[in-house]
Symmetry: C2
Subunit: 467 residues, 2 copies
């Protein structure tokens, strides 16, 4: 009985999945939280660990690249086919903050498998999705009998994605020569569901700011002074309250400047997806679907810009009460941008608007983190079809199109490297990104491995490098 | 050379002030924070310490009284004059929370004297003001040659004032017989300034609530879900923002029901005080005087009801950013009431209003602490003149009238004991009640001692007990 390439890939994956999962668990044990300075050594340890793992996988080159912040990992494995296209895979090895007491059922940095799911911070976002490329390329080689990949493979795995990738663009610019690629594959997104494999065609951008409001020089007695001086917590609350109008549109003047509106065809494609709002609400662990008037939930999360308060704090938050006017308050806001919006413009209009909202007697300070641009893959790009085919083979189902509400530095790669960006993600909405009990479905993780095992050959067959 | 009673009092105080201050410092070292459960043993220690100190002072009876919460201290020293009036002094031995990192220049529970000021949590609110009664009664006896006070003296020093006195009314009702008095002297207020001694004629009441807002069952990714589900931090902010209308009036329907408005004469009396708004702002450590339209600053803090947010919190408040829609948020609100307002009514109208403000998809829980009623001393009460005279002798200056924006359980004493309530406080606005670097001016503290040394004789001379 002759073995088809697909079954050869599957057999190889089956034989190596245990070791693959053990290695992934080892990586997940490193709490590479880029947002928290005391985890900086862990982020570095994570980079070193990954570089060693990639060398062990077979990449002839695997280096830790320094940035002004956390280190990235770069690896390359050239094809012996001189006309093979070059593909750059993007992912990140840093993770969101996580603590057991946030509501985790097990330690966030002590991976455990329950019900065929691997629970750990970073299991889906993004270590798991970076990691399927390691076994994927080996399955590709094993099944095809090649000694080098059918495409020239490059990996760039950054260490500051969860902190807004503040040094990523500089890193890409610095190494633009070595990073040069015919296409970028981003593995840091999700798909529709376990049953509906999809390819993402765009990501929202992200601009974040933190605003501090300063009132009295210290907390003062709310009986002695209450009602007669401005309260910075009230100022913070009023700013947040003013962020949206009565139609849940962002009320910052100029915020929607340049927004690429959805076409009727795109709205139809969204509407064709098997979307069950009740089910989606369960995934969102939320109790109402509400948002910008005139748009569906999918439009709101994929194709509409938003403003959210991620954190607010001021005054006494401990047990019991403390009758004070607090000295200060703060809010953390994030803005999701869609194609056509410019981060610098958003920062400007937000700064201008905030300045008009803060009452007399309250001083404010606003700081923006590094922004992430929105991006959109051309639906008619030929390489997109390779991804769709590879995924279709792995999943045995038709592949549909989605977008991603989250953000990543894909647009920087597109811009600096002048290469199209494609998205290959196998995470599902219930994976709990940024939340307690983040997990990855083991079956999907292995479908990710399988997809990449097919992808490189498909790309090399259908898309030649134009030297 | 014959010694006048005043100079006898002063001499006695001078001779004993060192020991007096050392004893007070010992008491201030006990962190009797009633709002924090882990300080419950300290609150008890504070009560035991005070009872022992009062026995040492000469009170034949000094007991620790249990409540369902923190213990109070009761002491009595009957006069040998059967027609002497009975005076009940009220104060509290618990203090606000305090931590060095809140902005204290020294440890809050390690009293230090700098520039003739004693810095410690509770120095002014209220241990210092309770304590001047101890040396005061001894100076009264020493200067008059009496062996018992000219009035029958009772002290009730509660242990839960900073937690809203939840068990105070029950305590007063339980012991109403032993507490019976012809007048109540409350030593838990302030005076205008070091140069302008004043007697307070009313306190605002206080109702406090904490509202929790629940959105998603856990923090969720603001990219994946942002813009499509309600955010509980936004709901909390919108509630706080809606608390006041554009005239800075409290926007809760029914909130102003029953408010006793100021008469023109009262507004004139307020306006006659040497009020310097710039100076007041320095004391308030604030940068703008703003509040309810149509009222002066003094009216706003003394005679107008208010709503303040004392604390707000939700989502990620740590370093860096976390792009989440938080699972929950909370606000702590306090409402100051003036004469004519009923705490039960305030609770009802606030609960009703909050329920109308919370959006679909957000669940809320609201809890009210025990309320403190507002109270107002009749301006024409004869005993008020004794206080004014005693204070005038101690300060050598005319005594004016103020009100107090803060709150205390004086109204419960008035109601249960059917006795007029008078206020004798020597704290000044810069003392930093509830704030870091709380202090008491040593000169004023000793004027407080001196005032009480004169007060008991004046009261006994001018106001006889009607058996």
């Amino acid at each position: 009985m002759s073995q088809t390439p697909d079954s050869a890939v599957r057999t190889y994956i089956e034989q190596h999945s245990s070791a693959f999962l053990e290695d992934l668990a080892e990586w997940l044990r490193i709490p590479s939280v880029s947002a928290q300075p005391d985890h900086a050594p862990d982020v570095r340890r994570s980079a070193d660990w990954l570089a060693a793992e990639l060398r062990e996988t077979g990449f002839p080159t695997a280096e830790v690249w320094e940035t002004a912040g956390a280190p990235a990992v770069y690896a390359e494995w050239p094809s012996d086919d001189p006309e093979a296209p070059t593909v750059l895979v993007y992912g990140h090895h840093d993770v969101q903050p996580a603590a057991r007491e946030d509501g985790w059922d097990s330690e966030p940095f002590e991976p455990v498998v329950r019900d065929n799911r691997l629970y750990a911070r970073g299991a889906a976002d993004d270590k798991g999705q970076v990691f399927f490329h390691t076994l994927g390329v080996r399955a590709h080689l094993a099944a095809t009998g090649r000694t080098t990949p059918a495409v020239s493979l490059k990996l760039l795995i950054e260490g500051e994605e969860e902190s807004g990738s503040p040094h990523f663009r500089a890193l890409v610019e610095e190494h633009a020569g070595r990073l040069a690629a015919d296409a970028v594959i981003v593995s840091d997104t999700g798909m529709w569901s376990e049953d509906t494999p999809t390819v993402c065609t765009g990501m929202r951008g992200l601009a974040e700011c933190e605003i501090h409001f300063f009132g009295p020089d210290q907390d003062i007695h709310s009986g002695s002074f209450g009602g007669a001086v401005p309260n910075p917590a009230t100022a913070a609350a009023r700013l947040v309250a003013a962020l949206h109008d009565e139609h849940a549109r962002v009320a910052v003047p100029g915020f929607y400047d340049g927004v690429v509106e959805l076409t009727d065809r795109e709205r139809e494609l969204f509407a064709e997806l098997p979307f069950d709002e009740r089910e989606w609400l369960r995934t969102a662990k939320s109790y109402a679907a509400r948002g910008e008037a005139g748009h569906t939930t999918l439009e709101r999360i994929w194709a509409r810009p938003t403003a959210e308060v991620n954190g607010i704090g001021g005054g006494y938050q401990g047990p019991g009460s403390k009758t004070i006017i607090p000295s200060s308050a703060m809010v953390k806001l994030s803005f999701r941008m869609v194609a056509g919006q410019d981060p610098a413009h958003i920062e400007k209009v937000v700064r201008d608007w905030v300045a008009t909202q803060v009452p007399a007697g309250i001083r404010h300070e606003i700081t923006f983190g590094a922004a992430t641009r929105p991006c959109l893959t051309p639906l008619d790009h030929p390489a997109l079809q390779s991804v769709v085919r590879a995924m279709g083979r792995a999943f045995g189902k038709p592949v549909r199109f989605t977008r991603e509400g989250g953000s990543g530095p894909a647009a920087d790669l597109q811009e600096v490297l002048d290469a199209p960006v494609l998205f290959l993600g196998i995470s599902v909405p219930s994976d709990g990104w940024h939340a307690p009990n983040e997990k990855v479905e083991l079956d999907l993780l292995l479908k990710g491995v399988e997809t990449t095992a097919y992808l490189w050959g498909d790309l090399a067959r259908t898309w030649r490098h134009a030297p």
